[in-house]
Symmetry: C2
Subunit: 262 residues, 2 copies
DNA sequence: TATTAAAATCGGTCATACCATTTATCCGGC
DNA sequence: GCCGGATAAATGGTATGACCGATTTTAATA
């Protein structure tokens, strides 16, 4: 646990430009940029930090809350406020995208396409860079899919892990984060979907094609396989949406939210 | 100006799961999802809304601030709090990505690559879908680049507009938003960079190649042209970074922040 | 009618107190 | 001496009330 014995926290300049809370945000952001605050670090208690920065506690809390909203800080009652730890792949919060989708009326087709583009990109990169371990993981997940054709829930677990492994193999954490951001939104209702065994078998086959293309270090083939995989998944989802339209006749506009095999 | 005469705002259930402010966030998000709150709408005054929701004003403000941090709401002192208007292309706040880059130590090469993948994707889609107007706009921007080879600042304006036009022509606002998110981060220091005329001319040529490929409805060529364009831009930026290393010997680690011709 | 000034509106900030949860401490029993 | 549960301290979450500053609206005035 880091001790802030030195005066890292400078008092807010009264002759600032924006609002006080904005200045607090800037202050904290710069400290993260400079490395004064590192992942996992714990911030001083709000009461102390407010004094250090020369602002009131509500104002400080406003700044903290803004940074917490974007996933940089995390406050736990009774424990403290921490810089989000970088365990595993870095992830961006998908709620902003989700809300933007609502505000602008994004269609699920648009979401699918965005995901498709991102998945194709990472698949291509993965074909160039995947390590032996990563390819072994992909193979295992594909095998897991074939082994759980009769268990859609378990199938979905392997499905998700396969895509995450491919993304990790791309070596680009930004693309990985963006992809997860979109995939998360598409995932929510996907888990509710009951899939037919034939769909699962076809899906598993498509994943195997992607894996083989990556294994053969063929980016174009990997991209093509991923494209076809997700196109089929989207078509399957659209069909299922039609069927499910009878169950929930209300709000038949379709709109946002999506899911389905993938 | 929307009037909230009806009781759209339900009192927060005391038997909730998370914290009170989280419940406020959920409440507001659902209202946006349901369409009760539409882009441009103004929320009731904080004091009134707090009463309607049955929470205190600080708690309500915490929720509002969280949504404002992700770009869904916007508060103006004296005026009120509004749902962000959807004028022009929807945009995601890039600060989360920026902070994540700091936390995880993303290299600028990784940023460049992510941008390249996204730009290639939208260029390919644009080649399939660009309208006549959009292609005309691209052409104008390319012409503007050639016309401002001696004015780097003006050149950059046309440069940015060209890429935004291509993104818009892709017809996928999600990819466009993600691309802008990454491009924004790369842009910040780019404007400071002074470019040589030869670089600008080459850059303009590359943009023309992209435009022509889109004009000819050739997605593969568009992707290839965009790839080469951004690869050259990255190389040029890296060279310039080397040169600039003498001016700012401190913090020679490079780290984040990027720019350069593109 | 147009301009200006006053007033109401509304978000921003501050101070204070208390609650809920977590963490650390202490003490007794084994 | 060691362990475990009870107690206390630390810390974020919420509430109340007040005041300030920017904005908008309204009214008075030229």
């Amino acid at each position: 646990m880091t001790d802030f014995n030195s005066d890292i926290f400078k008092t807010i300049d009264p002759e600032r430009r924006g609002t006080t809370s904005e200045e607090v945000i800037s202050q904290l952001r710069e400290m993260i940029h400079r490395g004064d605050l590192r992942p996992g670090d714990r911030l001083p208690p709000e009461r102390d930090l407010a004094k250090l920065l020369g602002v009131s506690r509500p104002t400080l809390r406003a700044g903290i809350r803004s940074l917490a909203a974007v996933g940089v800080l995390h406050s736990r009652q009774g424990a403290g406020t921490f810089v989000v730890k970088a365990d595993g792949p870095p992830s961006l919060d998908s709620s902003p995208l989700r809300l933007m989708a609502s505000l602008h009326g994004f269609t699920s087709a648009e979401m699918f396409e965005a995901r498709q583009s991102l998945e194709m990109a990472v698949a291509g990169l993965a074909a160039e860079r995947a390590t032996g371990d990563q390819m072994a993981s992909m193979s295992e997940e594909v095998a897991g899919m074939f082994a759980s054709l009769d268990d859609p829930e378990q199938f979905l677990v392997h499905d998700v892990r396969f895509h995450q492994t491919v993304a990790a193999a791309s070596g680009n954490r930004i693309l990985t984060s963006l992809m997860n951001m979109v995939a998360t939104i598409l995932f929510d209702t996907r888990i509710k979907t009951v899939k037919r065994a034939t769909d699962l078998k076809e899906s598993a086959e498509m994943h195997r094609h992607v894996y083989r293309a990556i294994r053969e270090r063929n980016p174009d083939a990997a991209r093509a396989a991923m494209r076809e995989h997700l196109e089929r998944a989207q078509r399957a989802w659209e069909l299922e949406k039609q069927d499910a339209a009878d169950d929930t006749p209300a709000d038949g506009s379709g709109g946002n939210g999506a899911g389905g095999a993938h």
